[in-house]
Symmetry: C2
Subunit: 711 residues, 2 copies
């Protein structure tokens, strides 16, 4: 079946409404790049003031075109937009690209126009791209509507909210001789959005890697799901701005995007296997690495150089980017030694000393030994390759070129990546061109080399994991009892559940909670306490008392019947100071929880990502150190495992200071069930389990608070 | 007075022992760069096997030279080194550069030769550079002994342990058209060391910035002192490898350097105002920024661009590098608005939209408004400057060049730095060349732009602070009582002080400790406890019992006379299980310490930096989170302030969770006195005050342990 975007990227005909010949204008540049490119379909230029443009017939309106039109690019003032879209839809447009700015990002008036545009497009299901965007390029469609001349074809696709980021990327590509598969400028993205495009590109055989530039995130939950799926096939590399307050300010004024909580964005991206970068040049380099290199199986790298200084720097870079630089096996070292000077280390990093400069072939030999070692996943050559001829003598050039060819062959036969860092990377040197053309990335910066190689390795490891990682089961069972709790609260105009209701909800999802009873009199309190077993804890239950301790509504370590009855009366007396008697549902009796590690777990419904699950150590750890981890629900088992392990205080859950290890499985169980609850029940805005006391076996949810949405 | 290095960098005559004509050899390249360079003094080539080299007379030995020789470069096999040095010294050499490798870094044999070389040089005080180094360049001396042809003169000097890092730096400079003042390859640095060179370059009028590449640190304390002093004048930018285990491995095999504790290295560098970088290209860029730009007064930056995407990225980069991107004052925004399109933000970042591309002069106007605002310390232009002519039309080139001239003028008259990030930075474009020649750095990477500008700002702020920041008073007073404690311990063959001795030492340096008494019998314990006041704590004192609690040697909360006497007997009974009776000096009685925040303070004598003071929160904070800060002693007030504030749990010393703020002044006092003790008493290897309980007023040192050196 044809995907709606197929026709957008491969249109049989294109119309430009607002086509222009005035040099430097947005419409002129895009019309020119269309006409002067390789596009083979029909082109219709629309401009009521002109009968001819670029030596072609100009139409007064799209309605005047004789045939149906697949794709329309519109560059007219905002007030003409709605009718232009309407006419385009009538003419059968499958895609409408709106370059015009000054819409939703400028205020209410623009937002109204955007809504009308969407309504018109919805009539036939036409895709709307933009507005406030800079156009589109498609290698498969031979079409260039970006206004950037001379774009080469390649296997990396670009999705970007900002036009000038696309300008930067295409410029970098020009300087470096690289190309693109598809480029879309999303602008305000009122129609087709990031997840839609990513989903499409996931299955696009012409796209090996997807670059994404985002200012804000709409529909983040879908984005994460789609990215997760995509990460099983190909990488999504994303630059998301707005990390800083000034960055968020700039993004807001640019495409009207609002930045989200940076901690959650970061966690969500990691969860989805999105490779996150912070700059455009890094975005470009990382993505193009993926388009040319074989994927490594792991993250173990061998580092080789003719100089010890470069080796040290490369090793520091490699480890700080999460790669391992293992000591090579004795067998591999022995195979390597014949090629090295006596006494030079073969352990890794490997120093082949100054002799490689005269005899570069030695590099091939050393790299071959490394690539044939099962414990090496990739090779990182650092130093001056390509410049040996300058350092030693011109005749070395030929030897370097031969070595380049050998290295390219090695990568092809061994199917492991080799990366080259060299001070000569910026120059046009034949030996380096051979490497680049043969799929060996060449960088001037050692840091960038490590960054790109590590991205490849991390993606590869994620891909393996993601392939066998189902989402935890959700939406399986109906929970009518839970829905009736929401109804009751809503009927009673409450924005939160009472603690006994919260407990009921949690139990309904299989959480284990200490037995409890609700007492309505001193006698019931005494009786109930006996059944639960002393010592007990007692807590007031009232919709008006959220902070129970502050209101004198909690008594701990109640040791006997008499004390229980007395505590009941005291709690009620305290409660009566803040609310009416009939607003107190009673006092809850609970067993005292044995000692353990204090944690918190919870759920918040994030503006961008929807349900987000949180975990952390309690007390000062959360209050002072903000030591919490986040993941977007629904969770996978791996997510839970990472959430627990990535908190700074994780060690406190292990055996430490004479205390036995805590039951991490019980924590994981709580997080999994929170995920289920969050996905099943959009009625809930926030869940707060605080504290959760984690024991050597099991965990006790001491207090739970559930806030409802719509308040 | 002439500095010993003056003659090294400006020699009147140079001899090369081991000069060679064999292409590509180390000796040949260096001899050639000397001869083909601008050197105007006498050159003597020494090679017993040749009568002529490079068309010049060759001498059989340096002794055969007719005149005295200022500087000698030696490139002979290790076994000939000692006699070569001996002869050089005899010939009056002030400096001896030893290129030869395979010395100390290769083993004991090499270390012996190094010692002999030093002994020969010491006879006349000649400076030894290397061995295992790659040579020297001096712009003032017109001399190039690096073997790298065509080095330009500039105002940045380089000190590097690795030869290939120097090759990288000189290559970068060549590609970018930049130059150097002095370059020294230190190699094994057995003679002149890093602090010596830095001290010299501090006062060198030709050097504006100092680049340092280190593999290991010898004499770190001196390095920190010298760098601190230098930071009052000019920046020291350092790349120190060995952060990773593999990096340390590579460095160790390269120059025999051992890496130190990374946390301490990092803290020491920050303390000294050293700008730390992690890669060679970054080292180069940061240092050259200093050589061309006026110093900003603060860290507030205005960001300008023709595109919103670039602005967002730049703002994120700026803040993540510690710069402020303040909202500009209303007055400044009003001055700016006439130059901007309607509705474009002037708040900062500033978006001058697409119109600058046709009319670049607008950029000058906007930059001028920013630079004239007292609340702006620098300007960061991002986007496509230099490429407007490509984007719009060729005639714009001239307008861009005019704008470049205007910007250069603005920097000169306003004396604030302007940085440019542009996608076109790699191309040779006249408008960009005008900027670079006029002292406006131009980068292809937005991240690098932020990195360099922030380095300038941080250095400037440090410089201001450092100028008025004396070291805390030390070495003022003699402490004979303290020295006698060491003597007693040594006489008794103890490697640590007893706790009563530790207390005496601390008190001698003005630390406030709770009153204590040493009881030698149950009766004395009861009497003493009365004097101190109940409840008391009791601790065993014995050289054989270091971990008192584990040995049952501590009793807390002793409430009355009888209990005190009983506790004494119990403690002694426990002690007798691990040591002889006569090895127990008694039981110390102390008041119970009121509650407060548990901290630790201490001193360790680091292999690289000497005395290092440590501070942190106690308990799990130090054990699990490693939440400690370090500074090299002697401290300055600022150091103490930073040590206390930079721990992650700092907030726990402030008002939090209903507890009042703790006495940070008392903590600072302890750290200052620890610094004094550490500097005065090299006999001490380690001091451990753990715990120190910090109260709302004052702090109690509950336990102290002092370990002596030489064990």
């Amino acid at each position: 079946m044809e995907h709606p975007l197929d026709r957008v990227f491969n249109p049989r005909s294109v119309a430009v409404i607002g086509a222009s010949e005035v040099p430097g204008k947005a419409a002129e540049r895009r019309t020119r790049s269309l006409i002067e490119g390789e596009y083979e379909g029909d082109i219709y230029l629309i401009n009521p003031k002109r009968s001819e443009l670029f030596g072609r017939k100009a139409y007064p309106s799209i309605a005047a075109v004789e045939k149906k039109v697949d794709l329309v690019m519109i560059v007219v003032a905002p007030r003409f937009l709605v009718s232009a879209v309407k006419e385009s839809v009538t003419m059968g447009a499958k895609g409408i690209i709106i370059i015009t700015a000054g819409l939703g990002e400028s205020g209410e008036e623009g937002k109204k126009i955007e809504a009308q545009i969407l309504a018109e497009a919805a009539k036939t299901g036409a895709c709307v791209i933009g507005p406030n965007c800079s156009g589109m390029f498609s290698a498969s469609g031979n079409i260039n509507l970006l206004g950037v001349p001379r774009l080469q074809k390649g296997s990396v696709s670009v999705l970007a909210q900002s036009g000038n980021v696309i300008d930067s990327l295409t410029h970098y590509a020009g300087v470096r001789g690289a190309g693109f598969s598809k480029i879309i400028s999303l602008g305000n993205a009122i129609g087709v959005s990031f997840p839609d495009y990513i989903e499409y590109l996931k299955d696009d055989p012409d796209t090996k890697a997807i670059m994404v530039y985002l200012e804000g995130i709409k529909d983040g939950n879908k984005l994460i799901r789609v990215a997760m799926d995509t990460a099983k096939e190909k990488p999504v590399i994303a630059l998301k701005v707005g990390r800083s307050t000034a960055g968020a300010r700039a993004a807001a004024s640019h495409t009207g995007s609002l930045a989200g909580d940076e901690l959650i964005v970061d966690a969500a991206f990691r969860q989805a296997g999105i490779v996150r970068v912070t700059n455009v040049d890094e975005l470009f380099d990382v993505a193009h690495t993926f388009s040319s290199c074989p994927l490594p199986r792991g993250n173990r790298v061998a580092i080789l150089s003719e100089g010890g200084g470069d080796n040290s720097i490369a090793a520091d870079n490699a480890e700080s980017h999460g790669m391992e630089v293992p000591v090579l096996s004795k067998a591999t070292q022995e195979r390597m030694e014949p090629f090295l000077l006596e006494g030079m280390p073969a352990s890794n990093p490997i120093d082949y000393g100054g002799t490689a400069e005269e005899n570069p072939h030695m590099i091939t030999e050393c790299v071959k030994v490394c690539l044939e070692d099962d414990q090496v996943d990739g090779v990182y050559i650092t130093g001056f390759f390509g410049g040996f001829k300058d350092i030693i003598a011109p005749h070395v050039a030929e030897l370097e070129e031969q070595t380049s060819r050998e290295l390219v062959d090695l990568v092809r036969t061994k199917q492991k990546p080799v990366f080259v860092h060299t001070s000569f990377a910026r120059e046009h040197i034949t030996s380096l061109d051979i490497l680049k053309d043969g799929g060996i990335p060449v960088f001037e910066s050692s840091e960038r080399t490590a960054r790109c190689l590590s991205a490849l390795m991390k993606f590869s490891l994620n891909r393996k994991k993601f392939k066998t990682m189902p989402l935890l089961g959700t939406k399986g069972k109906e929970h009518p009892e839970v829905k009736s709790l929401f109804k009751k609260a809503t009927d009673e105009k409450r924005n939160s559940l009472l603690e006994n209701e919260s407990r009921e909800l949690l139990k309904n999802y299989g959480m284990v909670l200490p037995e409890a009873e609700l007492a309505r009199s001193p006698e019931e309190a005494a009786e109930g306490a006996v059944r639960i077993g002393f010592p007990v804890a007692m807590k007031v239950i009232s919709p008006d008392i959220l902070h129970k301790s502050d209101a004198g509504g909690v008594k701990l370590n109640i040791a006997d019947r008499k004390a229980a009855a007395g505590a009941f009366e005291e709690i009620l007396a305290n409660a009566s100071k803040v609310t009416a008697k009939e607003r107190v549902m009673g006092v809850m009796l609970l067993p005292m929880v044995p000692k353990g590690r204090e944690c918190i777990a919870g759920m918040i419904r994030d503006r961008q990502f929807g349900p987000v699950i949180m975990f952390g150590l309690g007390g000062i750890f959360v209050e002072v150190l903000k030591d919490v981890s986040f993941r977007v629900a629904p969770l996978r088992e791996q997510d839970i495992d990472e959430m627990i392990h990535e908190i700074k205080g994780y060690k406190l859950l292990t055996e430490i200071r004479g205390e036995k290890a805590k039951d991490i499985g019980a924590v994981g169980d709580i997080l999994a069930r929170l995920s289920d609850i969050a996905v099943d029940n959009p009625e809930i805005r926030e869940i707060d389990l605080n504290p959760v006391i984690v024991h050597e076996k099991g965990a006790s949810i001491v207090d739970s608070r559930i806030i409802l949405a719509g308040w």
